[in-house]
């Protein structure tokens, strides 16, 4: 089958422009990140509001000393503690029931030494005790150390905070953002591939259903048509990614300092390579499947299942990210259909040795060429079979011929 580059580019630019204007693209490109953002935002917001909630807590202090320490520990928080006498306990319980106090804390020597302090609330499901428990824990330590006879300077020295700083072997500082960003990028790439692949598939089915394909094939070869579509949709996918990344960086930039990510464009090169490779692989698979189907709903849903295969590593994404260098993950990287998704996740989660990147990429490229050639063959033989969805036996026969 000969290929005319000009024809391919004409198809590519037509597909690009037509789909750029389509509602599906607009929705996927702009609504999807919005949903992600809102979903992420609600979670973060819930955390922030709960820590900002003003609380009033009644405290009965039988130790006589703990209250002062607790109060000073809670100084900078929206939690206010009010000391009451043991005699007012019944009254305070009623106040808690009426909502005047958020809770009643009962401090005694006994339960302090037992290591468990009672805190009464109206509804035990009300778990917003973050500030209080932190303040109480450190107050108890201070109190016990004082009881041992240490001076306040000595106590301060003994209880000075120690935090864990995670460094890579190269000495780079790891931060939550540094881990999160590449992962987010990896996920975005995967979603983009999946979405556009599906749009491409339905496009092919539609062209087949409204018979436009016959006109196209009277002017160009099926390989030119297939390649044009793949290129057009790859460009579309790259544009989508660019939009997502810009939005993501703008949003992320308003939350934290992006410079600490130490994310240079060069670091993204392998990801982009696997993105494009994966794109071509899945798109040719999806387009070919589309060509064998009568309609999107139609009879055999086997084709629908085939397009799910490349997503399998996504279901194991948690395990892959935690152990990106496990043997089974490595094996997965070398199976072409799983290579793009697995490698995108590994690249996000760890530093993959360069030889593995190179080798898996070569395997991916070979698979892409193979998929396109075989895809074009099935494509050209099944695209005019309007009346039915082809069975896998028929598809296999086409491949053999």
């Amino acid at each position: 089958m000969l290929m005319n580059r000009k024809n391919t580019m004409k198809v590519a630019s037509w597909e690009f422009i037509k789909n750029l204007k389509s509602p599906t693209f607009l929705i996927l490109t702009f609504i999807f990140p919005l949903i992600m953002l809102v979903a992420g935002g609600i979670g973060a917001l819930a955390g922030i509001t709960s820590s900002l909630e003003e609380q009033k807590i009644a405290v009965i202090d039988e130790t006589g000393q703990l209250f002062d320490i607790l109060e000073s520990n809670l100084d900078s928080t929206p939690v206010e503690v009010i000391l009451i006498s043991s005699g007012q306990q019944q009254e305070a319980r009623e106040d808690v029931a009426e909502g005047l106090y958020n809770g009643l804390l009962h401090l005694t020597e006994e339960n302090l030494s037992a290591g468990s302090v009672s805190y009464y609330v109206k509804d035990s499901r009300d778990q917003n005790t973050g500030h209080l428990s932190g303040a109480l824990r450190s107050a108890a330590i201070t109190y016990r150390l004082e009881a041992l006879g240490l001076s306040s300077e000595e106590i301060e020295e003994a209880t000075a905070a120690v935090s864990l700083q995670t460094l890579s072997l190269a000495g780079e500082e790891a931060s939550l953002a540094a881990l999160f960003m590449p992962l987010a990028i990896g996920m975005l790439l995967i979603f983009s591939v999946m979405f556009s692949g599906q749009v491409l598939m339905y496009g092919v089915i539609k062209e087949k259903r409204n018979r436009i394909v016959e006109i196209l094939l009277s002017s160009i070869t099926s390989l030119e048509l297939l390649m044009g579509k793949l290129i057009g949709f790859a460009a579309l996918g790259l544009l989508q990614i660019l939009i997502w990344l810009t939005v993501a960086l703008l949003v992320a930039g308003s939350f934290f300092d992006l410079r600490q990510l130490s994310l240079s464009p060069a670091d993204l090169v392998p990801s982009v390579m696997f993105f494009i490779g994966g794109y071509l692989l899945f798109s040719s698979l999806f387009a070919t499947m589309g060509a064998t189907m009568k309609d999107a709903e139609g009879g055999s849903q086997t084709q629908g299942l085939v397009v799910l295969v490349p997503m399998i590593p996504l279901f194991a994404s948690g395990a892959i990210i935690i152990t990106p260098n496990a043997a089974w993950v490595k094996i997965l990287s070398f199976i072409p259909i799983f290579t793009p998704v697995t490698m995108l996740m590994r690249l996000a989660a760890t530093t993959v040795p360069w030889w593995e990147i190179t080798l898996t990429f070569i395997i991916l490229l070979v698979a892409v060429v193979l998929f396109i050639i075989l895809g074009a063959r099935i494509f050209s033989r099944s695209i005019l079979q309007y009346e039915r969805t082809l069975s896998f036996i028929e598809i296999r026969r086409m491949l053999k011929k």
Binding site: K10, K18, S22, V213, I215
Partner: protein, 307 residues
Amino acid sequence: MEPVLKVKELTKSFGDKTVVDRISFSVTRSEVMGLLGPNGAGKTTAIRMIMGILSADQGEVVFNLDGNSGKIDKTAVGYLPEERGLYDDANVLDNLVYLSGLKGKSRSEAAREGMLWLERLELTDYAGQKLEKLSKGMQQKVQFIASILHKPRLVLFDEPFSGLDPVNQDFIKEIIHELQSEGITVLLSAHQMNLVEELCDNIFLINHGREILSGSLRDIKQSYGEDLVELRFNPTEESSFIAKIPGMRIVKEQPGYLSLRYSGTWSKRDLLQQLSGSIEIEEISVEKPPLHEIFIETVRERGDADE
């Protein structure tokens, strides 16, 4: 004259069913050739093989569009498929520009000439509309424009008249005549025998994938054995003798009216003299039957004989 299109022993089977069976014909420059046959005769399959959309099992299609014979130059061939198809979510002019662009026409030229065609087929107002807003007949006309906008030297029209009202059928007929006078070669399939008769120089009739009749339309009609005789006369006169004329067959009989088939040895002149000498004739016509009847007759006789 060197043929523009030569089809040799073209054969195609789907499974064990032979859909096109060793058909051969050629079409010369500025000729209009009608590929005829009942539904399922293999016309569309033959046309798809000629267009290179389907590959033939056997046989050969040779083009000679620019003086060099060889394989198809898709930019010089126009195609109107039987199953119409355009992008219904794109506007009319964009559809035309894209499809003729794939045939090598520049955007600006395609847009300008596309508008002229739309104007001619009374679709100017729809140029910027999405195709799905158009009626089926209108879409059909757009499809027709798409097949000729790039100025092909050979056009294949698969059922160009189906789905069109008589006014639009006339539009298309007129354009096909024009194409012919510009030296463009046309191969068309159609079921409207009156239109085929008006348009085609040659016909090629197939049934069950095989040729059953071919040649120039005039020759076919001339060599067709029967004449169609229609006769109006004074109903009070005795006319029973007519049925006894050797070779005469009555198709329809009403008082004062007879529709007849004549396959005897008399010339038209003798026939007229014989009839007019015996009864008082009000109106008479003796002519070859329309293609419609030749088609039906031939398919019935030759087609069934093949079984």
